[in-house]
């Protein structure tokens, strides 16, 4: 019945802690169908953890995560795997299978989940590789690729099953400006043409501004601010201003917690 609701993913009152360290507490957010949503935030705020929670690679201690109105914590393994076939995920380092060639990496989901003929698989894989500009690298092994190329192959693999939801974990890191421009346009185009819902985790304020419909700024285990990138840019909050404009001073400390600088240098606590 929720099939046509606008809210594809809802995170409600989420709490997650790892050991004594609380990563999220009382987090609420909604990801709308067909939009490009960005998660931004200082390093170490658990953006990748949030992606893993949404895809149930991790299970929250409290609260729930709804996909199409269904609490994913209640799914059986078989149902979960069925749900995951609707997701495509791009990992930070690509996570290509190192014992398979580029072609076989992209073909992997097709071979596992479909009974397509080799001819058809070849066709689909080459199309996807062409979209990321690496059709010529089909016979190479992942170890021969640069970091940026590996990420592009991983993107082709994430798209190969034509997922409804594409999740990108830091897709822009390590790409040269040309590839970056192509990938940003590709993300935008897939979203507009195929109605794919995209979730992007990134620090890259400038790129996010050009591509995202809605951003969530995550800090201290909560959503600190949300809105379109334009709205965030002019937001009043000191934290948002500091992050969006990359300032050293503000509520987010650049320095990790440490004893007093002068005192430590003078060696008083060492004695």
């Amino acid at each position: 019945m929720n099939q046509h609701s606008d809210n594809l993913i809802e995170v409600k009152n989420l709490k997650y802690s790892r050991g004594p360290r609380v990563i999220f507490e009382g987090m609420n957010l909604v990801i709308k169908r067909g939009e490009i949503t960005a998660f931004m935030g200082p390093s170490g705020t658990g953006k990748t953890t949030l992606l893993r929670l949404i895809t149930r690679q991790l299970v929250p201690q409290q609260g729930c995560i709804l996909v199409d109105g269904v609490d994913i914590a209640t799914l059986s393994i078989a149902e979960l795997y069925q749900l995951r076939q609707r997701f495509g995920m791009l990992f930070q380092n690509g996570a290509l299978l190192t014992d398979l060639s580029v072609f076989e990496n992209v073909a992997f989901p097709l071979r596992e989940h479909t009974k397509l003929t080799n001819r058809l698989i070849r066709h689909v894989v080459l199309t996807k590789l062409h979209a990321v500009g690496l059709r010529g690298a089909a016979d190479m092994m992942p170890a021969q690729l640069s970091g940026g190329m590996a990420r592009r192959v991983a993107l082709a693999r994430a798209m190969v099953m034509d997922p409804e939801i594409l999740i990108y974990d830091e897709p822009f890191v390590g790409l040269d400006p040309i590839s970056m421009g192509v990938i940003v346009r590709l993300v935008r185009r897939m979203n507009d043409a195929l109605g794919i819902t995209s979730i992007i985790v990134s620090h890259d304020v400038a790129e996010i501004a050009t591509v995202a419909d809605r951003s969530f700024l995550i800090s201290d285990g909560k959503v600190a601010a949300s809105g379109s990138p334009g709205e965030l840019r002019v937001a009043e909050s000191a934290l948002v201003r500091q992050f969006m404009h990359g300032m050293a001073d503000g509520p987010v400390a650049f320095h990790y917690e440490a004893p007093d600088y002068a005192e430590q240098l003078l060696g008083r606590d060492a004695e």
Binding site: Y81, M89, T98
Partner: protein
């Protein structure tokens, strides 16, 4: 004092918990086995090649020299009783029942077990296993089960080849070098070694195959996903396999007497 008791308790309960998880993991592997054997036997064949065929060289060289040593030692001792003709029997019992399965398992742990553990550990460290999960492919059945089965299938064959090459080594030393009568050498062996002895060797090598493969796969899958963690998992694979194989060898031998 209380502290010591508490530490002991912690270590003990940790050990029991790990051991329980280890056995549950074995059941998990078994539960995925039938489907993989039926639908993706090609993956298993690949792993038989990786663990088995690629271990052949080290197995055969070791077998040849172990057999040769048996020939030398056997001759030196048996000749004192004028029983050097029985050297074939002596070597065959030693190889088929003990040295074949045990040394093969130890070599297997060093050659194939470490490769399995580090491969799986690295796949975990580089998110390949998570990526599979996200592609709705269960890494336990896609990655672990074929590697486990590959080792289980390869081990008895490797042990048999080890024993066979070993006997050739003994033959070379005893017959060609020390001029033991070739007829007596093989004839006595044929008369004395019966099918129960060979079965004992086969049972042992199957048990060791399960142990060595399972330990390697378990250590790799539970490795801490860092360079150091994978290194430690590889070392643990060899150490734990060696101990497990020697303990089980004693138990099985005692049971089969």
């Amino acid at each position: 004092m209380i502290r010591i008791i508490r530490d002991l308790y912690d270590t003990g309960s940790e050990f029991v918990r790990t051991f329980g998880a280890f056995q549950l993991f074995f059941l998990r592997l078994l539960s995925h086995t039938p489907r993989i054997v039926v639908t993706r036997f090609d993956l298993v064949v690949n792993q038989v090649f990786n663990s088995g065929a690629l271990s052949l060289v080290i197995i055969m060289i070791s077998g040849l020299f172990v057999g040769g040593v048996l020939g030398l030692q056997g001759y030196a001792n048996l000749a004192r009783f004028n029983a050097e003709d029985s050297i074939g029997v002596f070597a065959a019992f030693g190889l088929v029942k003990e040295l074949g399965p045990v040394i093969t398992a130890l070599l297997f742990a060093g050659r194939a077990g470490t490769a399995l553990a580090s491969e799986i550990g690295l796949m975990k460290a580089t998110d390949q296993l998570s990526a599979m999960e996200m592609m709705a492919v269960n890494p336990v059945s896609r990655v672990l089960v074929p590697r486990f089965l590959g080792g289980v299938i390869a081990m008895p064959f490797l042990a048999a080849i080890f024993s066979m090459v070993g006997l050739l080594g003994t033959h070379l030393v005893a017959v060609e070098l020390l001029s033991v009568d070739v007829g007596a050498f093989w004839q006595q062996m044929q008369m004395t070694v019966d099918i129960d002895d060979i079965n004992e060797g086969i049972i042992k090598s199957v048990v060791f195959g399960v142990l060595a493969s399972h330990i390697a796969v378990w250590e790799g899958y539970n490795a801490i996903p860092t360079a150091e963690g994978v290194g430690r998992a590889t070392t643990r694979t060899v150490v734990i396999t060696a101990i497990a194989v020697l303990v089980f060898d004693f138990v099985i031998t005692a049971l089969m007497l």
